[in-house]
Structure formats: C-alpha cells, structure tokens
Symmetry: C2
Amino acid sequence: MSKRVTIKSIAKDLGISHMTVSRALTDNPNVQKETREAVRRHAQDVGYVRSAAAGTMRGNVSPIIGLLVPNIRNDFYARFANKLAEECEAAGLQLIIHLTKDDHQIERHCISRLREIQARAVITVPTPEPKELDQITDVGLDEIQLIRKRQTSPNTPAVLVDDALAIRDAVLHLHRTGHRRIAYLGAPVTLSSGRHRLDAYRSGLKQAGIVEDRRLVLTDSPSISMGNRLTRKILSETDASAIICAGFEISEGALKAAIQTETLNSRLAFVGYGDPDYYSWIGRGLCSIRVPVDELAECAISLVTSDKPREAEFKFAAKLIIRA
Amino acid sequence: MSKRVTIKSIAKDLGISHMTVSRALTDNPNVQKETREAVRRHAQDVGYVRSAAAGTMRGNVSPIIGLLVPNIRNDFYARFANKLAEECEAAGLQLIIHLTKDDHQIERHCISRLREIQARAVITVPTPEPKELDQITDVGLDEIQLIRKRQTSPNTPAVLVDDALAIRDAVLHLHRTGHRRIAYLGAPVTLSSGRHRLDAYRSGLKQAGIVEDRRLVLTDSPSISMGNRLTRKILSETDASAIICAGFEISEGALKAAIQTETLNSRLAFVGYGDPDYYSWIGRGLCSIRVPVDELAECAISLVTSDKPREAEFKFAAKLIIRA
DNA sequence: TTGAAAGCGCTACCAG
DNA sequence: CTGGTAGCGCTTTCAA
C-alpha cells in the first residue's frame, strides 16, 4: 500500500530539504517557526513515526531491555515481570520477555537475539547448572542477574534474596508448633542459592536442637515437577510432618502434591516460598517465605537506568509469614 | 571498549571484502568452502552478531511483536502472555509486553512505540471506553484484538471468547442449587463483551424463570477495585445469595471482597471468571467460567505468522466449571 | 536559516 | 567465485 513515511517523503511533500524536516522534528532552534509548524502538522497528518532502526544504527542506545525468566505463570515471576514492565513504562523503556524454561540452550539463544537488536541490558534469572561453565561468562551486553548468581561471572551486578533468616525462622516456627520431622526441598548445593538455603535450614535445625536426617533433605534442579515429585516421595517414604520449600517453582509443585494427596496441613505442615495472594486463602492460610518482589524489580531497573555500579550484589531480606 | 564487530571489521581482519563475509555468513553458495569456514570461525571467535537494525532498515520484517494487556499479574493475562511467549520462542519471534492498565492514553503511546521499532504486529486487549472514538482506528501496524473488540475498527481480526453458554449455565446451575437472588457483576453494555455477557445472564434468568432485579445487576468499567467495591455493595445493600463475575479483573476483586468479608460460599455462592488453578484449592473449590487460554494464544500467534486472514472473528467457547 | 554529504551495518545488484 | 556500489532513515558536520 502506501510507502513508509520518512523525513524525506515529508520533505518532498513540502518541497524542502529533509534536513529541515529533521530539525523541525527534533526541536532544533535553527528552523523558521512557520516551517517547523508546517512540518509538524504534516508529519502528524500523514502519521509519521521516526524509525528506531535508523537511530540504533547511528549509535543511539536502544530503549529495549530483555528479561529472561523461566516462565511468567509462577506468581513470583509474573509479579516481578509486571512490576518491571510498569517501571519500564515509566522510564520509557520497552521490555522484551523471553522464557528460558531454565534451559541453558534457550538462554544462550535468547541472549544472542537480544544482542542482535542491541538491547540496552538484560535482566536474567540464570539457568541452574550450566553444564558448560565456560563461554556464557561474557554475554556481550549489560547483564543483571536476578535471584540466582552465576559463579562464573563475578563482574556482573546481582539482585538477590537474603532468605537465610526466614528459612531459619521457618524451622524454628515449626519446631515451636511441635514438629520434629521437618523435611527440606531445595536446589542442589552446586547453585549458590541452593547452598545458602540449605545452610539456613541446617542452622535452624541446630538452633532447635534437632539432628538432621538426610532422608528428609531432598535437592534437585528446581522445577514444578521436581517439587511435586519429591513431595510425594517424602510423603510416601518418610515420616515427615512438615515441609519447607526453598524455591518458587518447588513450592508450586509441592503445594499441588500436598493438595492432591489431601495431606495439606493435616498430615503435612507446609511452608511455601514466594507467598502469592492465594496462599492466605487456602484452608486457614499457608505459611510462606515472602520475597520483596517490588523492591527487587525497582533495584533491577535502577541498575539499568543509572549505569553506575558494576560488580555489586544487592540483597533483599525475605520474611517468614506465619498463618493457620 | 572494543568497537562493535561488523562484517567490515571481520573483512579487514581476514583481508577480504566485506561482501564475501556477508555471503559466507548467509550461506550463499558463491563462496570458497575454506573461505566460508574461516569467516565463520573468526566471526564466532570475535563474537559477531548481525545487526538487526541494519536488517530492519533494509526492509526486513521485524521479528518483534507487541502485546498490550492491562497487566500480567492477573492469572488469565499471565497465562496468556506465558503461552504467547512460548509460541514466540518457537516461531523465532520476540515479544514486547506493554502494560496499558486499561488506560487509553498509555495504549496509544505504546502503539506509537511499537510503530517506531516497526513491530511486526501487535496483539492487544483494547482499553474499554475509548472516550475519543476516532483516531485509534488505524494503529499503523498489523493489529489483532484480544478478548474485547473495538467497535470502531471492523477490519481488524479479533480473537474472542464466547462465554454466553457458560454464563447462562452458571445461572441455571445456581438456580438448580436453590439460589433465586443471583447477582451479576460485569462491564458496561457500551462494551460489546459487556452487552453479550449481560444478555447471557438474562437469558439464563429467563430460562430459570427468575424475574430480573435491577439492583442485582451492577456494571462498571471492569477492574479489580471495581469488583471488590461492587461485591461489598451487593453484600451490604442487597439480599443476593449468589454472584456471577463476568470478567477477569472483576472476578479477582470480587473474590477478595468475599474472602475479606468472610461470606464466601457461606452467605454468598461465587462464580468466578477465568479459573486459575487455585480456585479449586479454596475451600471445597470455587465455581468458575473457564476460558481456553492456550487456544486463544495459539490462534493469536497463528494470525501473526500466517498473514492470511484480515477482518475475521475467531471465537472460543468458555465452559462452566462446577465445584463445591 | 537552510542544504549537501557522509556514514552507521547490511545485502541486492552489477562488474569483473 | 569475488569485489564494488548504492541505498534503507536518520543526524552530525561542514558549506552556503
């Protein structure tokens, strides 16, 4: 149909040079007032929008930032992405969301795509267990790690959750309410977050005077199905009376398993992770480790907009929410 | 630091023409095998990625599609966006998500931004009540309307939900279980979806032999707060024993109100809209009108990839899920 | 106050 | 098989 509207086409329409059009459109003072207004009016009329591609090619920083998350169905990621998108809107940024499904291959591919469009930055939840610990080190664009920290890239800022106290509190709370057989479901210790959370659990046990039973500690690459599977395993193979979930997806899967097996809060006390709204609506409410989502998102976006700090860790404390 | 890696920089490195590099990188047969491999190896080594901007400027269709939704915290939008993002990944597309908050101004601004980057298409949930019914008509890029249909743009494909039967079934179900005072919460009839849903409710009443009580029918621009507010109003000002929510956000707000006032399923039978997983976990489960999210997303994305049908409506049937 | 030229990275189109 | 040229839309730099 109609060709693309460019400053040149406008220039031709008006019988002037495309430079004058450019100047008029960028509020350059060196244009006759009438000319400027005529240009703007005509541009409006014909529906001109400037080409971002041309700008990018000339070296403009792109307004696009990438978000790499496993999914956006999980309450935490959805909330984070939502908050981030709001902040982007306010900051005049555009947010591209890529779902990695925690797959290392996909992750690399997405980063490549973001490089192609010269995205300004990428906020990423690093996939667990990068089998090939090498190459990913330099992603080739500004990277901000979220929640998890890849050990191989020490120069990258990271926005992390400090959940040690909350997890310890969870153990202590369960102990106070009579539980002695407290199971733990988390990521493997090869992930830094997996290690720290397990340490916190152990510190809670110690403080409560409970001796760790290794059969009650199950770790694997975190996912919904992992949470579901291992919860059933705990229910069928152990005498655990309580379970602590140390991860968003894990918590989601574990909750489903507990509900499906009808053991929730009857046979099995549940401490979730992430605290979606509906946790307080199930039964008389579920205990949960609440993560300050909005703060995380604000911190992440501020790292994008103010390009000050390289190589830094920002930690936000999680909090145990007691219910039921 | 290091300058951008381009085909020219590679060409210089290798002492050949940038054209040969281009050909090698695009699998053009007219390159010596050795040359091609040398080029590819070197490109790999120096971390070359082709510039999407350059491509776009030459007229390549952009791989970027936009999604305009009120938010992605609501279960339905989160699921839709998630499915869409998955499909995009599979189709080699990149998904930019803009949150409109159902604000007409924001919506227009977002579309403008998407035009600047020459997005391939935009999938949009039109904001309700565009006060200025004019200009928005031509968004200037391929548009696919979702869930709601803007009356002013008849030439745009729309992916819609046909919930008439489900809503009528909800009324009949409530009637069967003894309810006579059935309230309805929905969008205003100025929205096509608002009109159709209200009609369905009325058709249900009629079939059940119930005379409509206008005090039990509350409509307003749909939002969470609207759902919350009007539910409280119904509880305090009427003798309704049941409520049907005709909209995602409405359902979310209404549920919160019912739970906060502790009237859920005791004083007030609840029929939600959208059926998130946790609806089945609350109490003995909540009735709900389930919308086929994945089908909607698949349809939308297929409209983007196969550029066949202009001006068409695709309807997907919702279904009443009975619980409790 | 205006215009012309150059160049950002890339490929279709011609010459060799 | 390989290399040069031109041009996508825009702004910076220089010239009028």
